[in-house]
Symmetry: C2
Subunit: 263 residues, 2 copies
């Protein structure tokens, strides 16, 4: 398989999907509620996933597809070529802000990340990577992340994980918030992962993410030296929901050791 051919196909398809989404803003957005009120899904979300599925099936009908909206296959393993797709990451931002939402896609072969994409639809900003060849922000290569002390780090973390919760000792998270230089929260995991990969944030932590939130981002991460694991420090499992941290390599272990205490 020539990865560059797949890469060109993926980029062109993402850019076309982005244009369709921007065009769709001129129409009314019909919103429906999933199980959780925090987890809205729109017609555009579903249509975009179907658009990707059609394009991929036409590109190569043997490629498997795992998508957030569940319109791809039920996938039990990452054997063979697998696309992991989130057509709109940051659905609340999409609905309410009309910005700060991402298309994010990872392409894996036998479980190994080959191509990763995070596309800021409204800004038309593309973060992408090819395994072993590097990562880019639009036409500029992304630099390897430079070490920094934790005290100078800006980390992405939502306020809800700093208050009592079922997943981690929040007292330790409070210590972390007090130790670092600042915190941010953007409401899109893919956006925060792209920001870590490009040095705009130094870490991003979440207690519950799905494979499609992180699939594309983990591939970009490895090309710049960012470390992405679950909160036990284990490799990300791309078949199930899990905790997640991506960080500058100089602070990843320090955060896990001193500030994360899972329940």
């Amino acid at each position: 398989m020539d990865l560059h051919v797949v890469d060109q196909f993926a980029k062109a398809t993402i850019i076309e999907a982005g244009k369709r989404i921007r065009d769709a803003f001129s129409y009314d957005i019909q919103v429906e509620t999933k199980a959780d009120a925090n987890d809205l899904v729109t017609n555009i979300d579903r249509e975009t996933e179907l658009f990707f599925i059609d394009k991929i099936k036409a590109f190569n009908p043997e490629h498997k597809i795992l998508g957030e909206e569940g319109m791809g296959e039920q996938i039990e393993s990452l054997e063979g070529p697998v696309w992991i797709i989130d057509p709109i990451d940051g659905t609340m931002n999409f609905i309410k802000q009309h910005r700060h939402f991402m298309i994010t896609i990872g392409f894996f072969v036998d479980g190994v990340g080959k191509l990763g994409y995070i596309f800021d639809v409204m800004n038309e900003d593309m973060f992408c990577a090819i395994e072993g060849e590097g990562a880019w922000y639009n036409d500029s290569p992304l630099r390897k992340l430079q070490p920094l002390p934790l005290e100078e780090a800006i980390i992405g973390i939502n306020a809800s994980w700093v208050s009592p919760n079922r997943r981690v000792n929040h007292e330790k998270m409070i210590e972390l918030v007090r130790t670092v230089r600042g915190t941010r929260s953007y409401g899109s995991a893919a956006m925060e992962i792209a920001f870590v990969a490009s040095g705009k944030l130094d870490a991003y932590i979440s207690m519950r993410l799905s494979p499609w939130d992180i699939g594309g981002g983990t591939i970009i991460a490895q090309e710049v030296g960012a470390i992405a694991t679950n909160l036990k420090g284990q490799p990300c499992n791309l078949l199930t929901q899990d905790t997640f941290i991506i960080a500058n390599p100089s602070i990843h272990q320090q955060i896990l050791e001193h500030y994360i205490e899972e329940k």
Copy 2:
């Protein structure tokens, strides 16, 4: 005084200042440390404030100027025409992200807000208002904010205010975080105020802001019906640091009454 003439002057000057800042990114940014490590200031920050002071003095030497970098006058009252200027709100974003920082300016006459501006320098997005005439996002008028239940609100609040602190009962803040639909934190007060004024956020709360952080924003707020006060519900004092909340009018009082308990 013809406010439209002042408005045209202000807009042109802000746009020119923005261009100077974007151009300056091609040079090295020299960073120095203020008292607080969280509060970095750059040469560009100072130069931009001086640029505004020169322009305003040439426009009308009798106008007073209150600026973050302290290069304007020491101002004891808001009598007469007063400009309140933050040349770069979101300094950490400026340094680290090269985005998400704002020029924000308020023009007051005898303490009454007349003209307000929040300019997203990298996106070249202008939020502005003229007292009694309305507010705009670039060329589009901003709508009056529509009521919504607190449970559907997205609020801007930094994780540090949800952990034990000297200013408010953090247990109440935790309840607030659990009640609303979601939280965000962007690292620029002006950006979060602009987002509330344009319905992208429904409230923004901070325990410590300065007049230049909020001067321009409060004028935009009043034109869309957003309510901006300190956490006691009193009008914002533009001569000193204070607590701050700006919110959709349907949830402002509810947040203050049920979730804010100052120490």
